[in-house]
């Protein structure tokens, strides 16, 4: 049996399982050992379900022996703690949900289980998916596997760090304004946020319902295609899930992009972009041209308004969605209160962390009488302009290429006391989220020893094109180094 099974990609591990080089139990045990060895330093997991994982692996080995050939059968995957898991504590990294045992699985989790995947546990995140550094977890921060003094990004920081540190083969995340792409870029993995509605949101604990979408974090593009294929499709339990047919993303993945028109917008390369990050992204675009694509200058003139638009709309939706955390049906309890309003206020004051309180306050203010038109409706109108920018651009190009983040991972604590500076780290991922577009982050280089990412954005439901483009780049780039030395040295 080859050692270091935890370092495999999903597709390499699937080949190994099918050719009998190792079993799913052995593969799963290798991941559990790896978590045991390094997660004390990384903090990627909130819950590790070791017994359940071994049980699922044994069941997968039986299916494999019986000739079952499902693409995810027996492969260990981590789940962001924003997804409900039947019988397994789900907290959204919030103290207010401590001890919450969901009675049902999210549809994405059901689909993974039906495909025979092994679930390793629940990954750490910013509380209720609000944050860009994972420092807003109610339990513990996550550290960047490339440099333990740096943040991994957020809010799917635990999922990104777990993939980068080989603590899972792949992970599910969720992206509301960049929460899959940004940590994927900062940790050096592939992060795919599909079109709004491509994957069912049933059981995805709601943050901002018009923006939330489940995404995947993987070691390479082929794995992202495999995982998306298993998760995508209509779900009667989520009426906003799309009825669009689901292509064979992995089967179609040739990496051929001859004639592909790539749009480049100056708004993504202006002031505030670290010149070395800009250089990496430009070199990646040149590599795509070398693979047969053509370059076209486009403009997305309302890009600068995405930040205020998002930070009105997302907190407004959040303030309504988070009203359900009041100590009645689940979570913290309070026996001191004499009436129900007092009980709710006390529990919410005690259970929510500072960033969640801040967003609830922003949203409540923006939706309150006298401010609703000035903030919320105006932001929705600007959202229309941002969406129209993309619609216009996609008349002339097939894919848009841009940076994911303006700079590499920052120090833990550096932006904790400055919410506006923290929000600005999302500036390049927010526009595509507001427009509901599929987008992907792929590592395209290193700055100060830290990974940075190329962002690709496509029209609605053009995930195949996105993956094809990313695969073409990945072929020219070649394999990445692993952060193993950084983890082991510190």
């Amino acid at each position: 049996m080859p050692d270091q099974l935890h370092r495999l990609t999903l597709h390499a591990a699937a080949d190994g399982l099918r050719s009998g080089q190792f079993s799913s139990v052995e593969l799963t045990q290798s991941l559990l050992d790896r978590i045991q060895a390094v997660d004390g330093r990384i903090g990627a997991y909130l819950t590790v379900t070791a017994d359940l994982a071994v049980e699922q692996a044994a069941a997968a080995d039986k299916r494999l022996a019986a000739g079952d050939n499902g693409p995810l059968l027996g492969l260990p995957i981590a789940l962001k703690d924003v997804l409900t898991t039947a019988g397994v504590e789900t907290t959204c990294a919030s103290r207010i949900l401590q001890g919450f045992i969901p009675p049902y699985d999210a549809t994405a989790v059901t689909r993974l289980k039906q495909a025979g995947a092994v679930t390793l546990g629940k990954t750490n995140m910013d509380e209720f998916a609000m944050g860009s550094s994972n420092e807003h977890s109610g339990y513990k921060p996550v550290r960047n596997p490339w440099n333990l003094d740096k943040v991994p990004g957020g809010s799917s920081g635990g999922s990104a760090a777990a993939v980068a540190a080989d603590e899972c083969l792949a992970a599910l995340g969720s992206d509301t304004g960049g929460s899959v792409r940004q940590p994927a870029a900062l940790c050096g993995c592939v992060g795919l946020k599909p079109t709004y509605g491509r994957i069912s949101r049933f059981g995805l604990i709601a943050f901002a319902s018009s923006l939330d979408q489940i995404g995947v974090l993987t070691k390479d593009v082929t794995d992202a295609a495999l995982l998306l294929g298993a998760l995508a499709g209509h779900d009667p339990r989520d009426s906003t899930s799309a009825a669009e047919p689901v292509p064979d993303y992995a089967g179609e993945l040739s990496g051929e992009i001859g004639g592909l028109r790539i749009g480049v917008a100056p708004e993504y390369f202006g002031e505030g972009l670290d010149t070395r990050v800009g250089g990496s992204v430009r070199a990646a675009i040149d590599a795509l041209l070398g693979a047969g694509a053509t370059r076209h200058e486009i403009t997305l003139p309302h890009t600068e308004y995405a930040l205020p638009t998002y930070y009105v709309i997302a907190p407004s939706e959040a303030s309504a969605n988070l009203a359900r955390y009041n100590g009645v049906k689940y979570g913290l309890s309070d026996s001191q209160a004499t009436d129900v309003d007092e009980m709710m206020a006390r529990i919410r004051g005690r259970g929510f962390g500072s960033e969640v309180k801040r967003r609830i306050m922003i949203g409540t203010f923006a939706l309150s009488s006298g401010y609703y038109d000035a903030y919320y409706v105006r932001a929705q109108k600007v959202r229309t302009l941002i969406k129209s920018d993309f619609e216009t651009a996609f008349r002339d190009v097939d894919v848009i290429a841009a940076p994911v983040v303006p700079a590499p991972a920052f120090d833990l604590g550096a932006k904790l006391d400055d919410p506006v500076a923290m929000y600005q780290s999302d500036i390049m991922t927010l526009p595509a989220s507001l427009a509901g577009l599929p987008c992907l982050s792929i590592p395209c280089g290193f700055v100060d020893g830290l990974p940075v990412g190329l962002q690709l954005i496509a029209p609605p439901f053009a995930e195949s094109r996105l993956l094809q483009t990313a695969r073409a780049y990945e072929r020219t780039r070649g394999p990445l180094p692993a952060p193993t030395k950084a983890i082991d040295a510190q």
Binding site: A345, R358, S368, V377, V382
Partner: protein, 97 residues
Amino acid sequence: MSIDRSQVDHAADLARLELSDDERERLRGELGQILQAFEALNTLDTEHIPPTAQVIPLGNVERDDRVADSLPLDAVLHNAPRVEDGQIRVPPVLDES
């Protein structure tokens, strides 16, 4: 834009959020700073632009009203802090005085 303490108190009351004096004071400053950043939206002419509430081309989604399996009561009540006779117990909602 500057925010005064009564605006913070009002929003906290609407949101059923108990906050300490320190938190209220801190949020007063932060909300002012954040709302200031929102002012950029006022520089655009949006008078004739329709709002976007969601991005997918869907209207109402209807389904047949059919009885289907639902979760067992004990699984649903399992997480509630106070349960009595198959119901959730909360402190008084209405003041009887």
